[in-house]
Amino acid sequence: MQYKSQAVAKPYFIAAIGLFTGQILFGLIMGLQYVVGDFLFPEIPFNVARMVHTNLLIVWLLFGFMGSAYYLVPEESETELFSPKLAQVLFWIFLLAGAATVLGYLLVPYATLARMTGNNILATMGREFLEQPLPTKVGIVIVALAFLFNITMTVLKGRKTSITLVLLIGLWGLAVFFLFSFYNPSNLVLDKYFWWWVVHLWVEGVWELILGALLAFVLIKVTGVDREVIEKWLYVIIAMSLITGLIGTGHHYYWIGTPESWLWFGSVFSALEPIPFFMMTVFAFNMVNRRRREHPNKAATLWALGTGVMSFLGAGVWGFLHTLAPVNYYTHGTQITAAHGHMAFYGAYVMVVITMISYAMPVLRGRAANSERAQVLEMWSFWIMTVSIVFITLFLTAAGILQVWLQRISATPMGFMATQDQISLFYWLREISGVFFLVGLVLYIASFFIKGGKTVSA
């Protein structure tokens, strides 16, 4: 560790992995409810499990981003963090707020939770991914602003690199676009239109900047390739992300009441969205092939390469699959969307956060890399989780194609539930794949506790 204050990243990474585990457990509950409809009903209805599943994902990725920033920024800026104390305090505030929110979902009926938390004063709840009560949303803004203050002050007092600049733009964008979660007009079309300014402009916009910056940082570290080369790639990739992704928002504006012109804008621009992800894959492999050093952390390199490949497959290929308006007319709101969502989130954001953790955690624990045995186990967990998510995606895609056929294309369309019964085999297969994913995650966690073998000192 080059700077003492980087150590504040550690609890963020630990919390991220803990919440990730919770996310997967609730995912398994939902997967089972797809085939055993009354499982855990009425204790944990599907919608509650889903809120916990998706909100935990968002929160642990935010923990991952913040931890990564606290680790990365001092090293890039060549100075101690502006205020390590503030980072520690924010950690506990964010963790407690997150835990209280999840407990609220699980223990209190949602309508009661809404009434208790001031939703009648400013109604923001009950919209997908933005289910958080008002105090939680306000808390997210406060934590985000304090975090950004801390990071920005650190950058300002130290060396300014392209990586920290891109990371800062991404993180500030994240905070700014979240403000649209407070805008909830009673006109559903307007509500949906600006809801995407949070959701799309996050995951297909500013988060890609964060992803690029983190990946570039780790690639510099593990390959030793010249910074100028890596930062040039970074700029080209994120330029393409925003050039395609901003107007690409239009692929959500096909069927929600918005004008027909969006069918063209959305189709053309979102069809180009795979380009930056493909470049990310080429980038990662290119840099590793041109490496000027053999970094002992093989696992981190594997995660970095995996991020390139899986984000291209999940976000790029599976996104393109249903992004053209004539296709999306049939696939919109089916299991095809779910298939894409799972692989895109895993391939892009889960994997980049794990890449960062994989690189930084050994250093935070006082060594350049973990022991051979620990790394082998970590790489096993990489393959098991990654192959599992590929199968989850393939089974959901199969389910989605059948669903579209039976319910929307057939000359005698079936009802929703009758269709669901027909495709339950694929839901079972998805659930089994999910169990394998959990096994991979348990092995991943176990890899942190493997001792023995020779370690490389930092």
């Binding site: 939902m30 009354d38 009425p42 599907f46 006109n187 559903l188 700029y235 504006y253 919109h332 929307r408």
Partner: protein, 141 residues
Amino acid sequence: MSATFTKSMARNIFYGGAVFFFLLFVGLTFDTMQVLPKRDHRENITPEVVRGKHIWETRDCIGCHTLLGEGAYFAPELGNVYKRRGPEFIKAWIKAQPTGAPGRRQMPQFHLTDAQLNDLVAFLKWTSEINTNNWPPNIEG
């Protein structure tokens, strides 16, 4: 990438591209806002519709159902449920939940009053009249 293409050129493409396409997006948004009133029929958003949307949100309906294709994929599309089932069926259905049929997906009982049920139906009726470019492909949603 070739040496003649420098980092500062790449940076300029990023800044220029980001600013240009964000402004274009804002422009398209402005244009959309001009056209929307003809498509969403906002003149029909009555106090019942407003209250109905609030009930829709505070019961987290989106956690199981889709509405105009967005939401969860666990339960039927409701953007066109007013046309598919009609108001009386919707109200009776909500009142009858959960079915308790073993192994079947269950919808919670929300204890809505008759007035609340009417508000929710008003919201679903208004939603079903939005111009969605003919989506969904058929009445099954």
